[in-house]
Amino acid sequence: MNIDKDLVAAMATPLVLAILAEGSSYGYAILKRVRDVSAGEVQWTDGMLYPLLHRLERLGHIVAEWGESPEGRRRKYYRITDSGRAQLADQRRQWETATRTLGGIWGFALPATGA
């Protein structure tokens, strides 16, 4: 199933923040994680992740730091900040409201607070 482009774009920010909330990571690994979690159903043009990461960095939700990969290649790692966690919590409330609303109509319900 292909998920609509606009929906993917709307999901992008909480998705990236949620993955970084699990621990600091870098672009390639973030995309891999998205693919694994969604079983390949959320498709993303890989390159588009980076401008998003830069925007989140500019907004102060994440910080970036150059490091090295195990093979000695330069790699940029991103870490979530407190402001990013607050943003994530806020987004999560919004998404829960959205899915609960749709679920109420389509006949499935989501717990009011996250699992």
Binding site: Y28, G47, M48, H54, R73, R74, K76
Partner: protein, 454 residues
């Protein structure tokens, strides 16, 4: 470097061309690309397959750069701002302003000296001695050369050579007994700034003035400088016009005359240095303008030249052959040459010959054909009426330009045929620069005595 590194290098270059993706971004994307390639190869894909798929997954280059441009708009349109304190940038501004002030001061002092004598030459709202106009380049361009000498810390010996060159020109121009308002006088007035611009160019190039690449930089610098100067001049005119309009009700005419007579020339002189500094300061920030303008105007000039060449070939030159026509064609050839040179300066050495080269070739060949027609007619006229200093200067420049354009046409044609490389065309142009200098010096130093300063 293996094939894969070459592909990655090309891809990186394509990404960075727009300016939206900086080095660090490209590093990040390349790191991603290499991770992806490694993973794809580990499942058995070949080098090339892995590269193609990895690049495809990252997204189309134009879409990607558009996305980066949206996030990093500042990179696309950087404002010129004063550098933070304690960086060398502030010093560079101070040095630039000092030299701009020096140029302005020299022009004003010369203006003061020149206006004190009675003369029938009117310029800048007052009578002025002819030498002021003739020497105008000498007041400003050596200052610009000196600015580059200081900024580039040119070794003393080289400075002395440049200074000696300027001194010879200054002496010749001022000691030759021109008849006031004579043709020689005018020719010198036109050619002296060109000769002095070569001095600026040599000062700009620094110690590698002989290398082709460095000469190309001088050409690029000259084009960008001209554009910045024109823009500053435009702004200056608006400022001056508004000032006059605002002050007219309250100020006597005196103030307005002073504005035009004194402030305008000082500003024009200072702007020469400011424009040079701007070119250097903004070199890497926005795309160079001269090549962009060239790309717009080369096809238009090609059409105009072809139409004119066909027209003249059909109708002939006619009996009312204008004696100034040769000079007009010199200007036309200069413009064509400028279009060619700035077109070349913008093309990367690895780029293959394309449509733009075809258009360039059409323009050059049409210009040559047109010029040959005029040249033959002009030679006949000179055969009838003999040489004057003006005809000699126009004919000489014409031949100098013609040889250059024939060479240009040859190298462009072989480039299109795949038998030469762009760098050869570039070398032809840069190697030809001394010929221009030589001719300009002939016009300043040899022709006037030859024609008895007529």
């Amino acid at each position: 470097m293996n094939a894969r590194d070459t592909w990655i290098g090309d891809w990186r270059a394509a990404l960075q061309r727009s300016g939206a993706v900086d080095d660090a971004d490209a590093d990040e994307l390349e790191s991603h690309l290499r991770d992806q390639i490694t993973e794809l190869e580990s499942v058995g894909l070949t080098d090339e397959e892995a590269f193609q798929i990895a690049v495809g997954r990252l997204g189309k280059v134009d879409q990607l750069t558009a996305e980066y441009a949206r996030e990093h708009g500042d990179r696309m349109w950087k404002q010129l701002r004063a550098p933070a304190p304690d960086t060398p940038g502030r010093l560079s501004i101070a040095v630039m302003l000092a030299f701009a002030a020096l140029a302005a001061a020299i022009v004003l002092i010369a203006r003061l000296l020149a206006s004190s004598t009675a003369s029938d030459v009117l310029l800048l709202n007052g009578p002025i001695s002819p030498w002021f106009i003739r020497d105008l380049g000498l007041f400003v361009l050596p200052v610009l050369a000196a600015y580059f000498v200081v900024v580039r810390r040119t070794p003393t010996r080289r400075v002395l050579v440049l200074a000696a060159g300027v001194a010879v020109l200054a002496l010749a121009v001022n000691l030759f007994p021109y008849a006031p308002g004579s043709a020689s006088d005018q020719l010198v007035w036109i050619h002296l700034p060109v000769a002095l611009w070569f001095v600026v160019g040599i000062a700009y190039a620094g110690r590698e003035a002989l290398s082709s690449a460095r000469r190309m930089d001088v050409i690029r610098f000259s084009g960008e400088w001209a554009i910045y100067y024109a823009l500053i001049a435009l702004g200056g005119l608006v400022l001056l016009g508004l000032t006059i309009l605002v002050l007219t009700p309250i100020a006597p005419d005196l103030i307005i005359e002073d504005l035009i007579g004194w402030i305008a020339p000082a500003g024009a002189a200072g702007a020469v240095v400011v424009a040079a500094w701007l070119v250097e300061a903004k070199k890497s920030i926005i795309e160079n303008l001269a090549p962009v303008l060239t790309a717009i105007f080369t096809p238009l000039f090609a059409v105009m030249l072809v139409v004119a060449a066909v027209g003249y070939a059909v109708t002939g030159l006619g009996r009312d052959f204008d004696r100034d026509l040769l000079a007009v064609f010199d200007v036309l050839l200069l413009v064509v040459l400028g279009l060619v040179v700035y077109g070349i300066s913008a093309r990367s050495a690895t780029q293959r010959a394309g449509l733009m080269d075809v258009i360039r070739l059409v323009a050059v060949v049409a210009a040559i054909a047109l010029d040959l027609l005029v040249l033959v007619a002009m030679l006949a006229r000179i055969g009838d009426l003999g040489f004057t200093v003006n005809r000699a200067a126009a004919l000489g420049l014409n031949l100098v330009l013609l040889v250059n354009l024939v060479g240009t046409a040859w190298f462009t044609a072989t480039l299109l045929a795949g038998r030469s490389r762009p760098v050869q065309l570039e070398r032809w142009q840069t190697a030809y620069l001394p010929v221009f200098l030589g001719w300009v010096l002939v016009v300043i130093l040899v022709l006037p005595p030859l024609f008895a300063f007529a």
